[in-house]
Amino acid sequence: MGKVPKKRSLADKVRKTKTSTEIKNNPFEVKINRKKFDILGRKSKHDVGLPGVSRSKAINKRKDTLLKEYKQKGKSSKFIDKRFGEYDTNMAPEDKILKRFAMERQRVHDKKDLYNLNEEEELTHYGQSLAEMEKFNDIVNSDDESEEKGLLSAELTASHFGGGGLLRKKTSGDHEDGGDGGPRAKSRQELIEELIQKSKQEKRDRQVQKEESQELTEKLDHDWKSIQALMVKKIPRAERVEEEKPKLEQYDMMVRELVFEMKAQPSEKLKTPEELAREEREKLQKLEADRLRRMMGDQVVESSQSQTHMSADDLNDGFILDKDDQKTLSYQDGKWNIEEETEVEKDGEEEEEGQSERRRNLKREMTKRRKMMRRKKKRRRAEEEETSAKPSLSIEELKAQQEAAKAELPYTFTAPESLSDLKDLLHGHTPDNQRLIVARTQKSNHASLAVGNKLKLQKLLGFLLEYVGELATRSPPELTTIDKLIPELYTLCQMFPEAACKTMQSILGDAGHSTEEVLEVKGHLPFPTLDMIIYLKVTALLFPTSDFRHPVTTPALLYISQAITKCPVRSLQDVTSGLVLCCLAVEYVSFSKRFLPELINFLAGMLHLAVQDKTSLGYILVPPFRQSGKCSDLLVVSDTESCKSWSKKSLPLSATQQLELKNDLDRDHHRLMCLSTCLDLVKRCCLLYKDLLSFTHVFQPIRMLLSKHISAQAFPESIQELHNEILETISSVPVTHSRLILEKKKPIPLKLLTPKIVEVLDYGKKRGSTREEREKERLKHKYKKEFKGALREIRKDSRFLAREKLNEVMDRDSERKKKVRELFGSLATQEGEWKALKRRKKK
C-alpha cells in the first residue's frame, strides 16, 4: 500500500487498548474543569480533561526523544542508515521502496549470473508472487498503447484497479529493461492482437444484430398494415363518427382550440435609439436622393453634387463615380426600365473583371483611366438611349416635376457652424418650412450618429436662441416664425439641458449687466425690448417656473421684477410693455403661487394711471409711479362715448415696440384694452394670493383704487364685471388671523451630572485602543503564554531527566547492593563452610 503508516503515538495505543469511552467513563481518569459562568453559544474544548492519559503521553514522548538523547550523551559513535535514499526528503517513500527493491533485484540478478547456484528466489507482495503479477503488468503496459483507441475491457480495468499506482510505476521501471524478455513481449503483443480482434468481432456481431432487428421490424410493419386494413373495415365509419360526436363538448373544444392556437410569435427585436436614428436618417437620405433625382430629372449633367465625398481610392483626377452612372433596376410605366443599359453594363463589368484578372500586374492607374474612358463612353450612350427611351413623359410634366422638386425642401442639412450660417439656411423660407429645416437638421445630425454631432446640435440650440432674439428685433417682428420654432427649441432643450441653461443664462446675464449699467448712469430703465420679452417667455416654456430655485428661471423672474420696478411708464407703449411683463410675471408664479410684491405695485400703479381725480388718494404709490406728473393720466379715457364702440380683442405683442394710434378713439380703445387686461391680471393675482396672511394689506391700494377712484359705471360691461369680481374677492378674504407663535420645538434637556454609563456589549475584549495597539497586545499575550508553556515544558523535561537519573542511580545502587549481598552471602557461606569445616575438624 502506498499509504504512509501513520505514526502511532502511545496515547493512541492507550486509547486503543482501553477504549476511549471506558476511559472517559472512568471517574478516576476524568478531571472536570469547573466553569464559572455558563455562556451561551460558546463552545469550550477544555471542560473535560484526561490528566492520566495526557501525562502518559508526555512521558512516552520524552522517553522517545529526551531519554534517547540523554542516553546518547557523551557517546561519539552512532548508527548511520546507509539504505538508499534514507535521508532524502525529496523522495516519496514509495519511490524509495521501489528503488531499493530494484537495486536489490539487480544485485541478486548479478549475483545470479555470477553464482547461479539456486533457483530465483521468489519474491512476494501481499502474499502473492511478484513474478505472477508481472504478467498483469504487461497487460497494463499494453493498456497504455490501447488508450489511444479508447478500448477498455473488463479484464483491463480489473487488473488496473487491483494494481494501483505502485504497479504502474513498476511497469515503467520494467519497461526500461523490458527489451530482454523476448517471450514475455511476444505474449504481450499477442494479447493486444487478440484483444483487438475480439472487439472487432463484437462490433461486427452488433452490426449484424441491428440489421436483423431492423429487418424484423420492417417486416412486422408491413404485416401490420395489411392487417390494419382489415381492422378498419370491421367498424363502419359512420357509426364511429356518431359515437364520437356527442363527446365533443364545449370544454373540449376550447381545450383543442387552446392547444392549436397559434403560439405567440417571437416579435422583431426592439430597435435601439441609435438604430432608429440611423433609420430616420437613412429615410431622410433616401428621400433626399429621390428628390435630387427628380429635380435633375433629365439631361442636366450633374457636376456639383455629391462631389464632396472622396473615396480612399480616389485619384483626385476629377473622375467621379456618379450615382446616375450605375443604373439601378427600376420600373417605369409597368415595364422594366433601361434593360439594355444594365446588360451593357454587365458586359462591361465582366470584361473588366477579365481584364483585371489578366493584367493584375498592371498599374492601377492605368486600369482606372481606361475604366473612366469606358464609363464616359457608356454614359454618353446611356444618355442618348435614355432620352430616346422616355418619349411617354411630356416636357411639361417633366418641368412640373422639376419645379415641385425644387420647391420641396432638402431632407438632410449640415448643422450650421455660425449664426450667419443658420440665417442663410433659414432665409427666405416660410415659418413652417423653417421649422422643418430645423427639425431635419436636428434629425440628420442626431447625437448618436456621429461623435461631433452632440456639439453641433448644442451649437445649433445656441444659434436658434440667438436667431429667435433677432427675429423679435426685426421690424415688424417675425413672431409667427418664433412660434413655429418653439417645438424645435423645446426638443433641443430636452436633449441638452446644460447647453440650453448656459445659453439662457448668458442672455439673462448680459441683459442684467446692461440694465445695471444704464441704471447706474440714469437711475431708471427703459422697458425691455421685444426680444427680451420673448426670451423671458421662452424661458418659461423651456424651464419649470415653479422651482424654488432654478438657475434660469429665478434670474429671469428677478429681471422681470427689476423691469417693473425701475422702468417709468411714459407712454401707452410702455403701458403695453408693462402689461406684457405683468402677464409673464403672473405666468411665472401661477403654479407656485409665490408672492411677487412688485407685480401688485405695478398693477396698482397702472390702475392709478386711469384715475381722473388725483387728489385725496387713500393709498401710497410705489416707484416707478408717481402720485402726479406729466405721465400720470395715461389711461384716463378721454371720451366716455368711446366705451360703447369698444370690444375686447387681443393686442399684438408688437404693440410694445410701436403703437400706431391715429385718433382719440383708437387711443381710448387701447386704453380700455389695457385697463381690462390690467383688471384681469389683478383678478388672477387676487385668486393666486388669496391664502396670504397679509392679503388685505397687500391689496389695500387696489381696493381703494377700485372702490373709491375708479367707478365701474363709466366702463363697458366686461370691465364692470371684472371690477365687481375683484372687489368681491378682496372682501371675501378673511381679515382676522391668529397671532404668530413660534414653532414648538423639543425642549433642550438639562445638563445631567450622573456618570455616563456605557453598555459593554463584548466582554473580554480590550476596548478603547487602536487596531495596532490591540494587535500588539494580542501578540504580547501570546508570547507570554508561549513563554510560560515553554518554561513548563523545560521544567517537566528536567524533572523527567532527574527522575531518570535517580532511577539509574537507584538501579545501580540496588544492583550493587545485590552484588554486595551476594558477595556477603557467598562470603558468609564460605565462612560458614569454613567454620563448619573447622568445627568438624575440631570435632
Binding site: 416654456l541 430655485r549 438657475p551 401710497i620 407663535i741
Partner: protein, 530 residues
C-alpha cells in the same frame, strides 16, 4: 507753485509745435523787451496777440505775458504804489525811469484785465492758460508787492487780483466746473485758499442780494463746485504750503491759523446755505455734509437750522439730512426732540426704491442700535418696516428682514411680535395703525408680524429663506446688515447665474408647442402674435 509751472511748460510745449513761428516771434519780442527798454513798445504786439481769435495765439501770448511780467515784477520794474493815470504819467514830472515803470504798470494792468476777460472765454484752453497766468501774477505780486509797504504790520497778498479771479470763476451763465477743478490745485495753498474762501463769501453775498434770494442754478452750482473742492487740513501743523511767505510775523498772519481758516470756511458755507437752494443742490450738499463740511467748521452746531429744515422737508432730502443730524447728535450733543418720530415717518414705500437706501438703512441701524429705546418705539419700527416690506423689491427685503430681526434681538420684549402664545387660537384683525404718525399710538405691540409670514411665500428663494427664520426662535447673534446694504438686483441675479454647477438642470416637462401657450395662458389670453 510747482504744478503751475509744469503745466505752463507743457502748454508751451504743445503750443510750440503748432505755431512755431508766432511763438518764436512772441518769445523774441519778450526777449527784446527784457533786453532793452527801447523795445518797450513791443509789449503792445503781445497784448494784441492776447486779444486774438485763435486759441493757440492766445495761449502763447498768455505764456509770454506771464514770462514778461513776472520777470519785470522780479526786477521791480513795475511802478509801485498808487498808479497815476496814463496821461498824467506821461505829462507828470518824473524821471524817465519812473515813466517807464508807470508805462509798464499800465500795460500790466491791461494785461490782467484781458486775462480776466479770457476767464469767461468759450474755449477751455484759453480759460485755463489765462487762469494759470493770473495765478502766476498773483504769486509774483505776493512776493514783490505792488503796494507801498510803509508799515510792517501789513501782510502783503494780492487780494484784489484773487477776488477778481474768483468773481470770474463763479459765473452766472456758464458752468465752470472744469476750470474750477483746474483751480483746485491752487487751493492746496493755504493762503490762497483762505483768501478764496473770504472772496467767495463776499461774492455770494453780493450776487444773492442782487437777485433777492431767488434761485440762480448755474451760479449756485459753480459756487458749490468751488466750495466742495475746498478741504481744510485737520491740524495746524499741516499748514505749510504757502504761496506768499511773509517775512515778518508769519505766524500771526490770519492765513496761517487753522482757527481762522475754520471760521472763514464756516462763514462761507453758512453764507451760501442761507439762501434758497435748488432741491438737487440740497441733496448734493447733504451728501457731502457729514464728512467734508461739518468736521471743518469751528462751530458745527450752527448747521442745526439748516439740517432740521432739511430733515423736515421729507423724502430723500430728509433721508440725507439724517447723516448730518447724526453727527450733530452724536458728537455735538444736539438734543432733537422728535427725532425718532420723524424717523418713523420717513419710513415710506419709497424708502426701498431711492438711491440712498443703503445709507439710510445704515444710519437707521445706528439710531436704533441703542438699547435704551422704549419698546413701543422699536415695535413700531419693526411693524412698519414689515408692513412696508410688502411692497419692497427683493434687494430691499434682504436688508429689511435682518434689520427687523436685529431690532427684536436687541429688545427681547419685542418678541411678542413673533410669539404670543397666551392668545392662541384667538382670531383678530391687525390692530396696527399704519396711518398713525405717532409711534406711541400706532398699537404696534398689540400686533404680530404677519407680513413676514407672508413673505415666506416670496418668489425669491433667498428672501423666502430669510423670512423662514421667524418660525424658530431667533439666534442670539445679530445679522450683519452691512453686507447686504449695497446689493443690487444684478448681483442677486449673478448669484444664480454663477452657481451653475448643478448637475442636471430641471426642465419643463410640459411639451411646448406655441409661443403664447403654457403657464396658464395668461399672455395668450390678452396678446396675440401680430
Amino acid at each position: 507753485m510747482a504744478p503751475a509751472k509744469r503745466c505752463n511748460v507743457s502748454l508751451a510745449a504743445t503750443a510750440e509745435k503748432s505755431v512755431k513761428k508766432a511763438k518764436i516771434d512772441i518769445n523774441a519780442q519778450v526777449e527784446r523787451i527784457l533786453e532793452s527798454r527801447k523795445n518797450a513798445n513791443d509789449v503792445f504786439d503781445i497784448l494784441e496777440a492776447l486779444e486774438s481769435e485763435k486759441e493757440k495765439d492766445v495761449v502763447s501770448a498768455a505764456n509770454a505775458c506771464s514770462k514778461l511780467f513776472c520777470t519785470l515784477l522780479e526786477k521791480k520794474e513795475l511802478f509801485l504804489g498808487k498808479l497815476p493815470g496814463e496821461e498824467e504819467a506821461v505829462s507828470g514830472e518824473c524821471s524817465a525811469e519812473e515813466k517807464y515803470q508807470m508805462f509798464m504798470r499800465h500795460r500790466y494792468n491791461s494785461c490782467v484785465e484781458l486775462l480776466l476777460e479770457h476767464l469767461s472765454h468759450d474755449l477751455h484752453g484759453v480759460k485755463e492758460s489765462a487762469l494759470c497766468c493770473l495765478m502766476k501774477f498773483a504769486a509774483g505780486e505776493g512776493k514783490y508787492p505792488l503796494e507801498d509797504l510803509d508799515w510792517t504790520e501789513h501782510y502783503s497778498f494780492p487780494r484784489e487780483l484773487l477776488q477778481a479771479v474768483v468773481d470770474r470763476l463763479l459765473s452766472k451763465t456758464t458752468d465752470n466746473s472744469m476750470l474750477i477743478s483746474r483751480f483746485q490745485e491752487f487751493l492746496e495753498m493755504e493762503d490762497v485758499r483762505y483768501y478764496v474762501m473770504s472772496s467767495i463769501r463776499e461774492n455770494v453775498g453780493k450776487v444773492m442780494d442782487k437777485n433777492k434770494g431767488a434761485l440762480v442754478p448755474i451760479y449756485q452750482n459753480n459756487v458749490f463746485t468751488l466750495m466742495s473742492n475746498i478741504s481744510i487740513p485737520s491740524q495746524e501743523s499741516e499748514l505749510t504750503n504757502f504761496m506768499v511767505k511773509q517775512e515778518a510775523k508769519h505766524e500771526d498772519w490770519k492765513a496761517a491759523k487753522l482757527n481762522e481758516h475754520k471760521r472763514v470756511f464756516e462763514r462761507m458755507w453758512l453764507g451760501f446755505l442761507k439762501y434758497k437752494l435748488p432741491s438737487n443742490m440740497y441733496k448734493k450738499i447733504l451728501v457731502i455734509l457729514h464728512d467734508s463740511i461739518l468736521p471743518h467748521m469751528s462751530k458745527p452746531t450752527l448747521m442745526i437750522d439748516f439740517l432740521t429744515a432739511a430733515y423736515e422737508v421729507g423724502g430723500a432730502i430728509s433721508l440725507l439730512a439724517l447723516n448730518g443730524l447724526f453727527v450733530l447728535i452724536h458728537q455735538h450733543n444736539l438734543d432733537y426732540p422728535d427725532f425718532y418720530k420723524n424717523l418713523y415717518n420717513l419710513l415710506e414705500p419709497s424708502v426701498f426704491h431711492v438711491k440712498y437706501r443703503a445709507r439710510f438703512f445704515h444710519l437707521a441701524n445706528l439710531f436704533l442700535s441703542s438699547s435704551h429705546l422704549p419698546v413701543y418705539l422699536v415695535a413700531a419700527f419693526a411693524k412698519r418696516l414689515a408692513r412696508l416690506a410688502l411692497t419692497a423689491p427683493p434687494t430691499a427685503l434682504l436688508i429689511v428682514l435682518p434689520f427687523v430681526y436685529n431690532l427684536i434681538r436687541r429688545h427681547p420684549s419685542c418678541r411678542v411680535l413673533l410669539h404670543k402664545p397666551s392668545t392662541e387660537g384667538e382670531l383678530l384683525e391687525d390692530p396696527y395703525l399704519m396711518d398713525e404718525e405717532d409711534p406711541v399710538k400706532c398699537r404696534a405691540l398689540e400686533s404680530s408680524l404677519w407680513e413676514i409670514k407672508t413673505l415666506q411665500k416670496h418668489y425669491h428663494p433667498d428672501v423666502a429663506k430669510a423670512a423662514l427664520a421667524i418660525n424658530t426662535p431667533l439666534s442670539g447673534k445679530e445679522d450683519d446688515i452691512n453686507e447686504v446694504l449695497e446689493i443690487t438686483t444684478h448681483e442677486l441675479m449673478e448669484r444664480d447665474l454663477k452657481k451653475s454647477q448643478i448637475k442636471n438642470i430641471p426642465l419643463e416637462f410640459e411639451i411646448a408647442t406655441q409661443l403664447l401657450k403654457g403657464g396658464g395662458d395668461v399672455l395668450g389670453q390678452h396678446f396675440c402674435l401680430d
